[in-house]
Amino acid sequence: MEIKRREFLKLLGGVSGAVAIGTYGCNQVIDVPERLIELAKKGLGIETWKNTICGQCPAGCGIKVRLVDDIPVYIKGNPLYPVNQGGMCPSGHSALEVLFNPDRIKEPLKRIGIPGSNKWEPLSWEEALQKIADFLIKQRRNNKSHQVAFLDGSEQNSLMSEHIAQFMKAYGSPNYYQYPSVKNDSVPYLLLQGTQQIPSYDFLNTKYVLSFGSNFLEEGYSPIYYTKLYTHLKELTEKKRTRFVQIDSRMSLTAINADRWIPIRPGTYGALALGVAYILIREELYDNEFVSKHTFGFEDWVDNEGYTHLGFKSNVIGNYYPEQVSKITGVPGETILEIARELGNNKPSLVLGDQGSADNTNGTYSQMAIHSLNALLGNFGKEGGLYFTDQPPLAELPRVQEDELAVKGNSQPPIGCTYNTSFKIMDFSINSFTKNILSDNPYPVSVLFLYKGNPLFNALNHHDLAEALKKIPLVISFDSFLTETSEYADIILPDHTFLEKWDEYSNIPSVGFNHVGIQQPVIEPLFDTRNSANILIELGDKIGGTVSGSLPFENFEKEIKFRVEKIYRSGEGAIISEGLKGDWLEYLQQRGWQVGRYNSFDEFWKLITKHGGWWNPIKKEKGIKNIFKTSSGKFEFYSQLLKEWTDELVLMKGNDSHQNRELVLSELNINARGDQVYLPHYEAVPVDEHMPLYLTTYKLLTNRNGQSSNQPMMQEMFGYTSHQSWNTWAEIHPATAKDYGISNEDYIWVESSTGSIKLKAIVNPVVMPNVVAIPFGLGHTSFGRYAKGHGVNPNSVMKNLYDSLNGNPALQATKITISLAT
Amino acid sequence: MNSMQNKIIAMAQLVSFLAMWIFVIGIIIWIINLISISVELQDAPGVSLGISLVAIPVFITLACILTYAYFGFKKNTSNLKNHSED
């Protein structure tokens, strides 16, 4: 036996042992795939590891890819990369199924059928690019450069987005949008403290965390980073534990791991937050010093014209006493009392708000209410509070050179914004984007670039969006797969998968330190695909002039190098490396802000690509002053910015008259009046009262935005928590199920005013009564053999509602009824 | 019934009889083999022995009974033949 095994090892060289275990394995050589036998005959199977950044979701984890004879066979977390420190999420592991997916687009395609007909014919790169370039040039010559729009669904803080922005600006169009857009999510922070940045939370030093629907372990910006923090915390605080309390209408992964779960009626988070504020204020549990020093609009105040304005305090005291709040939220008064006291008595204590509380028509106001709790607790610029990371010392891209065509184009109003195209607060709303395209308001869109993402699948207004896509003369999609959306494209320029391309990721939102990750090819492109970034450079060159001048790089790799070189010069931080394993924070603290010296940039570059990234955990000391960029230089309970901009809108209606203000407010779907509009307050969600149940959706780690639906492994373990594979299910509380005569595993109809879907019911008490929770991700009508026709898409029964302040879709605002499917 | 046929039949009987023995012996060998394996793998030896102790004798007795019957009948038929000769 032994000898045989040796022989076998020889056969497979470096990659020892298809031998399972025991002494019988030798016979199992026959079980090794042909390919490997051949490789083995060729010589030793050489095993190598390459570091890169995972592109499955925006979380930007560092991954280590195992290659045997240059073919990736396994992926694990990069133990050195500070964001995930060797951790991974399920979908990261199925990345190889993206790379080797049988449904990949292998060459440029031209649509021959009608949009959505999915009939294609191949096209040579030169032909395709020339075609597009000509069109773009024509547009430009006719002063229509602004009619070129770019929709970037990557959701990623990568160089790519800046790259695109650069291109669009140089070309002369204001219409570059990210969807979903992080900028939108940060609107509340913009309104309250004037900075458009997602805060990071100092979990490690806090005693108590109150999370308003923020599912940071599952749906957050970087779940694995938070998982790491979370468990690191549990290690640190064996004795005195940090207490996690999760407020959510469904028991999310975060809620399961929290110390307490408080169910709440969807869309009423803001009210609860203010209810908590009520008690903090009443019982003097808030940070009086901070509030008096660094906040604006807490007490009632008088403006220059001598008008008295309502203060946060009196607003809260007046409207949000526990009985009232518990009537709105369904949370018992004593519970509110409890959490408020725990919050006030366990400082430093943190308050988080996201997903559940944000994805609603009143999302922005809820977030403001929740965030203002942090102000009451004085959680700024102190240990165990929240903070804002610095920007990494990356080189800015060269200043965009705008010729007069570009200037003219850029001066045009962007079409991606809400009801009035100059509403500055919001970055992008797919809803108004669509409406504007359909109504040619203020101008038609003639070219649309699509990069990654799948708006037709994600958006709540997919019908209109489809129409809009049909309307646009030229739709170009950079995509590796045929998705619902790219089916509407006229030309598809296949992109590399992230394992084949260069990119650079810096500062994932809410990750608590400065970091840069290098995404690099681990394998030669399998097919005739190209990096979209390079395509843009090429297009720029074809257009020529200032456009090519603004992207003066041979290719994307060079561009990244150019950016990274500045880090090297700055000498800040460190390339992640063996030394930083283990208890990294302390290590760097005592080691000062710089680790390691590099003789040359080439060495630096070699190292950073070898290890996968750079980081700098040391925060620059910031006075509270530079946290708040508001006009008052303080934290503004009363958002003067919001006031200013609403006033602008009012003026655009003509004069500042009562009815104009009414008009504006009603168009913004704001029910509050007077000063309340600019204060954190509770806005009731407009729901169909005749529908008895709430519909809430959530995203699973196995398939965060439906982008993993074409990976069989993820399809199979989609519902690993309730042993559901390849299909969608609806969670229903036993009481509710009883009312509707539904038992576990029954099939039910979920019906809203916009449509109905049939799916399996899972009856268990992890969702509050009268709420039906459905995971988002499946129900594709395209996107390859593994995605198509499995499960249902809850968004298809959702009402097309949006938070009109920041333009985000309201995923929790639909009410439904259910019935047993027969 | 000619004698030729008789001979063939007698042969056939003998063959089947031997086959029976081979079968039984085969089984016994197999069981012994199994015991050796179980000893080698330190399986519960009590069980193995128990089974084999039951199985082996059973097969042997069966075989013996058949043999007994076989020859018992044979012997008798032969003297019958002698009778018929004279």
Binding site: S722, H723 | M1, Q5, I9, A12, Q13, F23, V24, I27, W30, I31, N33, L34, I35, I37, S38, L41, D43, A44, V47, S48, I51, S52, V54, A55, V58, F59, T61, L62, I65, L66, Y68, A69, Y70, G72, F73, K74, K75, N76, T77, L80
Partner: protein, 447 residues
């Protein structure tokens, strides 16, 4: 047909008739059965081709029809040999027309049952591994050994008592003379041969009883040796044996009634035989209930959570219908029919027996599936719905059994002729002496 074979003048002519006269009925039955078997064969080939995926089993419920039927068929096999052996031992004179049939059933059903585990294998091509690298500590191997032993024993036990009848057939001549003379081992019916034969039989019947019992005990071990709740029970050995004999007698009764009708054996299988046998059935029914009762009582009384889970599942779960059906068919119906004189007619007995056979099959189902459907780990409870393939193979098994019986009846007398004769000649005298010997008074010189 050269010359018509003379048997009409025989005393036991009705026993020869089915052998020498072939009606249309015979060919039709055989034809139909052949078709069914062919179908089953095709189904099995598909299973080999595509794998066990074509069945209704899944990761939690990994055993289904095949194992159920395995236990069921082996159970039936207990009819024959055991009963005939016991009757022979107790020298019950009414056994004479019954024994042969009983033994036939055993032989055929064992062959079928024994093959079922192979149907259940994921890799039948590797079945020989149990010879090269078998492990005696696995209850499955205990089965292999004990079933082979039982099979050989019962075939021998069927064969030896048949020799005199075979000789009879040989002497009648006809096309198959060579065949019969090959099997008859030159039987001449001399005193010496009779002595030899009787001795052989008497050794066999003593030996067969323990084997038969052991076989079904061992089969129960397959289940009770695991830690599964609902299986891990010491009572299982006897429980299975009783169940086996129970179903065995039922099948025997059915066949007796049928062949009595078909082959006009009213003269041989008299009402009295059915009376006696059905009484035995009744006793078994009660015994079976006793075991079932104590099995569940211990479970419920101890109320160990996992046990309870499964008992609850049996009582109320998706298979509850089968469970209560089992009680009805195995206990209530037979007891009512067999204990009330008025119902205890041939038809009544037939109904009761059929009920029992179905009931016993349900019992096997209730043992195998629910325990597997409720794993100890908190996994979603699986459901098992047998596929077409499984049903076909079940049907095929039954078809093979009937075919075997029909063919046997074509070549050999279903009732032991020589034993009947023996009964006429010596039986009566012998019984008389025996009765005398039981009675008070001085020993009459009984040999």
């Amino acid at each position: 047909m050269p010359k018509k074979i003379q048997y009409e003048n025989e005393l036991d002519a009705p026993l020869f008739r089915p052998i020498y006269e072939t009606g249309k009925g015979f060919y039709i039955t055989v034809g139909i059965l052949m078709l069914i078997i062919l179908w089953a064969l095709i189904m099995y080939i598909t299973q080999i081709w595509f794998g066990l995926g074509v069945t209704g089993m899944n990761q939690t419920i990994t055993w289904g029809f095949y194992i159920i039927n395995f236990v069921f068929f082996i159970g039936i096999s207990h009819a024959g040999t055991l009963i005939s052996a016991i009757l022979r031992l107790s020298r019950a004179e009414w056994r004479r027309p019954i024994t042969r049939m009983a033994e036939v059933i055993t032989a055929i059903v064992l062959a079928i049952g024994g093959l079922h585990p192979i149907l259940d294998l994921g890799r039948p091509d590797r079945v020989l591994n149990i010879f090269t690298s078998g492990r005696l500590q696995s209850p499955l191997l205990w089965d292999v050994t004990s079933i082979t032993a039982y099979f050989t024993a019962s075939t021998v036990y069927l064969y030896l008592p048949m020799i005199p009848d075979i000789a009879k057939l040989r002497d009648k001549g006809g096309k198959l003379t060579w065949f019969y003379s090959f099997l008859s081992w030159g039987w001449q019916g001399t005193e010496h041969q009779k002595k030899v034969l009787n001795r052989a039989i008497s050794i066999l019947m003593i030996m067969v009883i323990p084997i038969a019992i052991s076989v079904h005990t061992v089969i129960s071990y397959i289940f009770s040796m695991t830690l599964q709740p609902g299986w891990h029970s010491t009572i299982f050995g006897p429980y299975f044996v009783v169940g086996a004999i129970f179903s065995g007698i039922a099948v025997l009764l059915i066949l007796m009634i049928v062949s009595r009708k078909v082959f006009h054996l009213e003269d041989y299988l008299k009402k009295i035989h059915f009376q006696y046998l059905s009484t035995l059935l009744l006793i078994m029914a009660l015994l079976w209930f006793y075991f079932t009762f104590s099995e569940f009582l211990t479970g419920i009384f101890g109320s160990e959570p996992h046990e309870m889970e499964i008992i609850h599942y049996k009582f109320t779960g998706p298979y509850a219908l089968f469970f209560w059906g089992m009680l009805l068919l195995n206990f209530i119906i037979p007891v009512i029919i067999l204990s009330i004189k008025r119902f205890k007619t041939i038809t009544g007995i037939l109904i009761a027996s059929i009920a029992v056979v179905i009931g016993m099959w349900l019992e096997r189902l209730n043992i195998v599936v629910p325990s597997l459907a409720n794993p100890r780990m908190e996994l979603p409870i699986g459901i098992y719905i047998p596929s077409l393939v499984e049903w076909s193979l079940f049907l095929g098994g039954i078809a093979v059994f009937i075919l075997g019986f029909v063919l046997f009846s074509k070549f050999f007398p279903l009732i032991s002729i020589w034993e009947i004769e023996e009964g006429r000649e010596e039986g009566i005298k012998e019984v008389e002496e025996r009765v005398h010997s039981y009675l008070p008074g001085k020993e009459t010189g009984s040999k």
